[in-house]
Amino acid sequence: MDILIQQLFNGLTIGSVYALVALGLTLVYGILHIPNFAHGALYMMGGYITLTMMTKFGLHYWIAIFVSIIVVGFIGVLMERLVFHPLRESPPIQDKIAAIGILLFLEAFAQYTWGAEYQSMPSPYGQVVEVFGLTLTMQRILIVVAAVIVMILLNLFLRKTYTGSTIIAMSQNREGANLVGINTTRVAMLTFMISGGLAAIAASISAPINLVFPGMGQLVILKAFVIIILGGMGSIPGAIVGGYIIGFSESLGATYISNDYKDIIAFFILVIILTVKPTGLFSKGGH
């Protein structure tokens, strides 16, 4: 029973990280209808920038995360401006290839700048606490709390502010949004900025319990894709629910099925979903 609860909490931790990454991915998909394969590279950059800020510049953990959000958000904006904007009228296969190009570049860049070895991120929240007989590290609690706060803030931003609702409007109908006077270019840039920022937060809070290395984004991004297909491409609640579903099934699967194959579970779910419903669950409209 203890193991079960412990694993459920682990699932909650991983799920929070997945949900944050998937949120960024789903926001971009909602606006531009491109699966951003380079999103995992943004996640990886987020981890490295936080790490560098802490070790090289001696900044505090939170300030380092803040810098990382800004920098990665800016990389996201650059991506939109330089690559996805010129390609907005092209056939979909080209967006994907361009995104893969960015991904390859960023990974090689990280390897060139920071080296290929695995690095651990020191965290000021390494201490162990006992809650209701469970041994938890502060960092894991922090991940869950921070993720929930970020999700609530994002939701408030999207629902309650004017700028936020322009994003929703554009994801509902691009031409329509343009007609009522929304600057779609600016909204696209803003969305990429938020998406990059979310990836940076996810990487920075999860890096202390995982590790930082050039390929750290690969598995996470694949799972984020599974999540947004599970939750519906472009759907925000779907990304959050999907993130936790994958998080729980992975941590439970690792304990009760096989630790070796735990990474396959998410993909297995995806294969089953797309086998049954080729357009993904909860897909809007039909072709």
Partner: protein, 342 residues
């Protein structure tokens, strides 16, 4: 000048040069690199047939490459089969798996297909990596035999191996040429341009797509099996996503959806990588942005770019000859060229 560089002449030139290449150089290293390039070309042709002609970007082809390689490796090393029997069987296995995967995966489209195949490729990689009793896991398979000879012909030297791989490559090019210039090839292009339209004019899109998918996985498997017999050691890394990204780079640089693109792209990128030796592991610092830039400015790669320039010049010449009055004929000619290129 450009008229000389049409695809048939490029292929003929390529065949001639590659036939005499081992006679000119005695450097076995060069022959080794060339053979590897040929092996990759076969896989890239597989990718090209699917992504270039029907517009379905499959990111699982590194997986099928690995299945071909491991099929051969396991059948010869663990099951002690004779080489050519294992070779044929490994192709059959790849094709069969391709058929099963294709039946399911091709129901999804565009982004879903790309994501589906990406995840599938990862599943194949993980299975190879973790299924130690069958694949030896991270240790890899060692001691894969070289191809058995036929009578007096033996494939033990680098040179003979080179010609063997070249033979298969030419076979693949021939098959590609026949497919692209047949009615089926036209159907594939119709599917790429608009699947709904193709369906309404009576093309069975499902069957055509499945045929292409199985064929392209066969090419990938063939490429993998040849790789295994040439390098004679395989590890799970050959199924990694990095491999599919390499293949994609070759294809995009050369020209996606063109017949000569895989030849030119693979040769160019592989030799460039060889020049960048010390820089090998960081080569994507250059090729990554190159991929992105090409897709933005020359979506059909070098071959497509050259063809476009050539076509523009033709149109200009035509204009000068016909004067301004006959713009109708000129646009008609342009359309003809468009169809020819496919």
């Amino acid at each position: 000048m450009s008229a000389v560089l049409n695809k048939r002449n490029i292929i003929i030139l390529f065949v001639l040069v590659s036939l005499v290449f081992p006679l000119i150089t005695t450097n076995t290293y060069l022959i080794h690199v060339m053979t590897l390039a040929f092996i990759w070309m076969i896989g890239v042709y597989g990718l090209n047939l699917l992504a270039g002609y029907t517009g379905y970007l499959s990111l699982a082809h590194a997986g099928f490459f690995a299945i071909g390689a491991y099929g051969l490796g396991i059948l010869t090393v663990k099951a002690h089969m004779s080489f050519w029997l294992a070779f044929v069987l490994s192709l059959l296995i790849t094709g069969l798996l391709g058929l099963i995967v294709g039946l399911i995966a091709l129901r999804s489209k565009e982004h879903f297909f790309a994501i589906y195949t990406l995840c599938l490729g990862y599943i194949i990689y993980l299975v190879i990596d973790k299924w130690e009793s069958l694949t030896e896991g991270v240790r890899g398979l060692i001691g894969i035999p070289a191809p058995q000879g036929f009578g007096p012909i033996k494939f033990e030297t680098e040179k003979s191996h080179y010609y063997l791989v070249l033979f298969f490559l030419l076979l693949v090019i021939l098959v590609m040429y026949r497919i692209v210039h047949s009615l089926s090839g036209r159907s594939f292009i119709a599917i790429r341009n608009s699947e709904d339209l193709a369906l309404t004019i009576g093309i069975s899109t499902a069957r055509n797509k499945l045929t292409v998918f199985v064929l392209s996985t066969l090419f990938a498997g063939l490429s993998g099996a040849l790789y295994a017999s040439f390098v004679r050691f395989i590890g799970p890394d050959i199924g990694n996503t990095a491999v599919i990204f390499d293949m994609l780079t070759y294809l995009i640089v050369g020209g996606i959806g063109t017949l000569t693109g895989p030849l030119i792209g693979t040769l160019l990128v592989i030799w460039l990588s060889q020049l960048l030796q010390d820089f090998q592991q960081y080569r994507m610092l250059i090729f990554g942005p190159l991929l992105t830039l090409l897709v933005i400015f020359y979506p059909r790669g070098i071959v497509g770019g050259v063809t476009d320039i050539y076509r523009k010049r033709m149109a200009k010449k035509e204009k000068q000859l016909a004067g301004k009055k006959d713009s109708y004929i000129q646009s008609d000619l342009g359309a003809k060229n468009q169809v020819k290129e496919g």
